[in-house]
Subunit: 199 residues, 2 copies
DNA sequence: GTCTATATCCCGATAGAC
DNA sequence: GTCTATCGGGATATAGAC
């Protein structure tokens, strides 16, 4: 039996160039299919067909269908955190929450297929880390207050949850109406958030 | 062939009491199963098993699986709009948005199984009315400004989208942490929303 | 290394016994 | 009115040819 890169052991030795290419292609078509038809309607057969190969070939490169979609989810999530993280790091502490909101909405508006995939991922994900969603933004809000020399203030957890949900709403609206002005919406949300944060 | 109440014609003649009971029971177990295991994992077999009958029996009372879940969705949606609608009607126009937010969060926090079902319904729903989600709240916001004699103001569509998303976020957090104080969160959101509305 | 063929399972739905 | 038995289809995954 040949070495499976997605073996249960999970050892991540280097992949050959052509295998790397195949995996990237499969991840890409999976993202497209989920974005277009949703998670439930994305079967192995459709992934294989979209990639121009057979089901068996797909399962040679990935151990299971779940492994394919997990790789696709990891890809879009990585792109998101890299982009947003860079924007946050480049902003002064008291404007970091604004940078977070602005870039998060910007990224998802620029990559609507990623947005659909991330939404479906959060829905299907069993055992989600409850805090993972709001903790980063809550930390930014806390630091922003500190940077302005303010004492204990509003509940940053709730503010982060409200802002996170609002971001989802704005991005979701953009998915249904490509003409929706997400930049204006982002600035409205930022104004509300900063007003509540520094109150 | 006996008369099928869910026949394509859709004539809604009165149902017998016992049939009414069976349908209610099936709707209830479907809500529970979707809330617990999600939409995709809720099969006819599981519905039948949870109700203590067989698949065939379920399909006697409903024309198809989709008809069962559609009935369950209609049930939770009806409960939501009735509850929220009454609260909105009982409030003065300039506090109607607050009443909407407060009761929406309250209702979904009090009925977490309904919340899960509604979320899954919105995800799976193909061809959603794009405006259906934010239009009602946007109208309330518009009327609230008018009630206070204010002229043209902020974009009520965006405010409604932000508030709607924030509601989802708060309710979602409650689903993962039963100890989360949704009432305090609701008041925070209302303060932010009214501040932006009457600015 | 990739594909064909197949195995196995579960899905929704139907037919007909009772 | 409810159940048993079964159908046809599509799903994931495996075995083995080449």
């Amino acid at each position: 039996m040949s070495v499976r890169r997605t073996s249960p052991g999970g050892e991540d030795r280097p992949l050959s160039l052509i295998e790397r290419t195949r995996r990237d292609q499969l991840v890409q078509v999976t993202i497209d299919l989920v974005a277009e038809h949703g998670y439930a309607a994305t079967s192995l057969a459709r992934i294989a067909q979209a990639a121009g190969i057979t089901k068996g070939a797909v399962l040679y490169h990935f151990a299971s269908k779940d492994a394919v979609v997990a790789a696709a989810q990891a890809h879009v999530l990585d792109a998101l955190v890299t982009d947003v993280g860079a924007a946050v790091d480049a902003a002064p502490a008291d404007r970091a929450p604004a940078a977070y909101v602005r870039r998060m909405i910007g990224h998802l508006a620029e990559h609507p297929d990623h947005a659909r995939m991330i939404i479906e991922a959060m829905i299907n994900d069993d055992r989600p880390e409850p805090e993972a969603r709001w903790r980063p933004l809550a930390a930014l809000l806390w630091n922003a207050r500190e940077a302005r020399g303010l004492g204990p203030g509003p509940d940053t957890r709730t503010l982060a949850i409200i802002a996170g949900g609002a971001i989802d709403g704005i991005v979701g609206e953009r998915l249904q109406d490509a003409g929706y002005d997400t930049e204006a919406a982002a600035e409205s949300l930022i104004a509300m958030l900063e007003s509540a944060t520094f109150a």
